[in-house]
């Protein structure tokens, strides 16, 4: 089975583009599993952030999937095209990574 992940890429929120990846999966796997497969097997430059991988504890993998704000570790891969975008209401860092830390917990140089 394959899912097609259409992923927003870029470092400038005004000048991004989409790239599509066909991702193999078994039912039950998460979108984060698919993104990790892309990084190891297709394109290691894709920027995503996660730490707990699976436990919904770190809250880092927040993004927009098909227009909804969700955690990529708890959304299941489906055998169709899924559109992945960075959070639109947070400052873009790169690709699917946005500035999600509370302001008081960010480094200020």
């Amino acid at each position: 089975m394959k899912a097609r992940l259409k992923v927003w890429r870029g470092v400038d929120a005004a000048a991004g583009h989409f790239e599509s990846y066909d991702v193999p999966f078994e039912p039950g796997q998460s979108v984060l599993d698919g993104l990790r497969w892309i990084r190891a097997d297709r394109d290691p430059s894709l920027a995503i952030r996660f730490s707990c991988i699976n436990a919904n504890a770190c809250k880092e993998c927040m993004m927009e999937i098909d227009g909804e704000t969700v955690y990529a570790c708890t959304v299941r891969l489906e055998p169709r095209e899924m559109v992945l975008k960075p959070l639109h209401n947070k400052k873009l860092v790169r690709d699917l990574v946005t500035e999600i830390a509370p302001p008081a917990e960010r480094f200020k140089g």
Partner: protein
């Protein structure tokens, strides 16, 4: 381009100054920050992920071992005796004593801060866990110990003045001057720029190394960074061959939104039955009959499951079945409340089906050598939590990890505050130059760093797992050497914001160093003890009742054996 970029200095490096730098904001780092700030020190709490959300603490489901005597009479000396017994002759008794003696104080302080320990008849409930001589383990329902501990500490950190927090800051190297640690160089992930931090004391609280393994139960940010930072700064590591595997990590069916060690609390409360492919209980074949209770220790359960799989009696995905089919729906609901609904959302009904479990990398007993003040051999460098080696010897008891995070964190914070009192900064920017240059480099090879990490994780899981042989360890070291050569000296990536290839290159620099030490230490220890089992040297040998100490000598690692630290030696 490359030449020009290297010849022309980049923009001025961002720089901050603090009394105490703490690297890692899990339980140990946050408790250290609170203790140091309360003692009057200015604290800079850095984490490569979000503050208080990465690391191992937030992932802990249960339990916290502590001699409160709330359930049955207890004394910390009984907890020490159990900890030493579990450590199979290698426990540093000074550290074990500190852990057990000060544990109750930290647990009660956490209670005052509102963590919400589960209660029974008005007292803090204490569950029995294998290896303890009596019920000793506090917890927060349901499967919520780690998240509750993290959240409580985050709240207290936020309320404590004098703590500056900086997430998304990856410390790349410690900086030294005249043999003392004087601060650090970090990569600011959001910009890709280097940052220098001047500190009068630095506490490494970056956790263990479970990310070296394919299947693990901690966060992806625990790849041995703390060990590598300390080692490169001149501090020795001890007991690096002792990696603890958790026997019943979730294997199948695929579960999302839940931690793979979630089945342990089910076993504490309901027993559960470990079954092979023929649906027979099998642990009796390896020395411990369970009869529906949870009595088997972690090392023996790991052994029993791996041997059943090798004998062709494993479950379809290569583990064992764990069954609660004998429990009623009501009993399951009473013990686990909303967790039952989360399982249902994953298609799992425990009253009619078993799940599959298998050993998973869980914790590291080894770490940075430290004294009972949490000070290392290197002035200005302290450690806390899982980053510390020795307190748990060759095998850790259930429940000791959160306790050591809290106790060692508090102690490290206090010691650091004492050190910085009246001290001046000794940081010299010249000492930071080579690391800054590494962070800013733009001449690295085009590497698939994500695939390289997977290769390392597979090698460690297959060849440096719980059961080891000379042949497999030698093969692993060859693979690690190949990866080191492929990694090269200059970082991959473009150095722009959140450059995963650069982050992973820097991670691999640490992971490969630490993996090499684990495999080398395991190859040298020609016996079996606790979590280190050599199939080619099956017995425990009295002459190996020593700690192996590793130091960096140029590019090489030098090992020495030293006598185990007894409590008397500490007086």
């Amino acid at each position: 381009m490359t030449m020009r970029a290297r010849a022309e200095p980049k923009a001025e490096t961002m720089h901050v100054e603090t009394d105490v730098l703490i690297i890692g904001s899990g339980g140990a780092g946050m408790y250290a920050a609170i203790a140091a700030a309360r003692a009057g020190a200015q604290v800079f709490l850095a984490d490569r992920s979000l503050i208080g959300r990465g690391g191992a603490t937030v992932m802990a489901q249960m339990t916290v071992a502590v001699a409160l005597g709330a359930e049955t009479p207890d004394h910390w000396s009984h907890h020490v005796a159990d900890t030493i017994r579990a450590g199979r002759g290698l426990t540093d008794e000074r550290l074990a004593r500190l852990l057990c003696e000060e544990g109750p104080g930290c647990i009660l302080e956490m209670d005052k801060w509102g963590v919400g320990w589960a209660r029974r008849d008005g007292h803090i409930a204490q569950a029995f866990a294998p290896g303890h001589d009596r019920p000793r383990c506090a917890y927060v329902d349901f499967l919520n110990t780690g998240p509750a501990v993290s959240k409580t500490l985050r709240t207290v950190v936020n309320k404590t003045s004098g703590i500056h927090k900086a997430g998304d800051l990856l410390v790349v190297d410690l900086v030294r001057h005249d043999g003392e640690v004087t601060g650090a160089v970090a990569l600011h992930l959001a910009s890709g720029a280097p940052v220098t931090i001047a500190a009068k004391a630095t506490i490494v609280a970056a956790g263990g190394l479970t990310r070296l393994y394919r299947r693990n139960s901690a966060s992806a940010n625990m790849g041995g960074d703390g060990y590598a930072l300390a080692l490169r700064a001149g501090a020795p590591l001890i007991d690096m061959e002792f990696v603890q595997f958790f026997p019943i990590g979730h294997l199948a069916p695929r579960l999302i939104g839940m931690d793979p060690i979630m089945w342990d609390p089910f076993r504490y409360k309901l027993g559960g039955r470990l079954l092979n492919a023929d649906r027979e209980e099998f642990t009796g074949r390896y020395g411990t009959r369970e009869d529906g209770k949870y009595v088997i220790t972690r090392d023996l359960a790991t052994y029993a499951i791996i041997k059943e799989v090798e004998a062709g009696r494993g479950s379809p995905h290569g583990g064992a079945y764990l069954s609660f089919e004998h429990c009623s729906a009501d009993a399951l609901r009473e013990a686990f409340g909303p967790v039952i609904d989360r399982l249902a959302a994953n298609g799992i009904d425990l009253t009619r089906m078993p799940v599959e479990v298998a050993p998973i990398a869980h914790y590291h007993m080894g770490g940075v050598a430290a004294d009972a003040r949490m000070e290392t051999e290197v002035p200005g460098l302290l450690v806390a939590g899982e980053a510390v080696g020795g307190a748990n010897g060759a095998n850790r008891l259930s429940g000791n990890a959160i306790t050591e995070a809290l106790v060692f964190g508090r102690r490290a914070g206090r010691s650091a505050a004492e050190r910085v009192h009246g001290r001046r900064h000794a940081f010299d920017a010249a000492d930071a130059r080579s690391t800054i240059e590494l962070v800013e480099a733009d001449d690295g090879a085009d590497l698939n760093t994500a695939a390289m990490i997977q290769t390392l994780q597979s090698t460690m899981a297959d060849d440096v797992g719980p059961f080891r042989t000379k042949a497999r360890l030698t093969r692993a070291l060859a693979t690690i050497d190949d990866l080191r050569r492929a990694l090269g000296e200059r970082p991959a990536g473009d150095g722009k914001p959140f450059d995963m290839r650069r982050i992973e290159w820097l991670d691999l620099r640490n992971m490969l160093l630490v993996a090499r030490i684990v495999a080398r230490a395991a190859l040298l220890r020609s016996e079996s003890r606790g979590a280190h089992q050599r199939e080619d040297f099956p017995g425990l040998l009295p002459e190996w009742q020593v700690n192996q100490v590793a130091r960096l000598r140029g590019d090489d690692i030098a090992f020495a054996s030293v006598p185990v630290m007894a409590e008397a030696a500490a007086q």
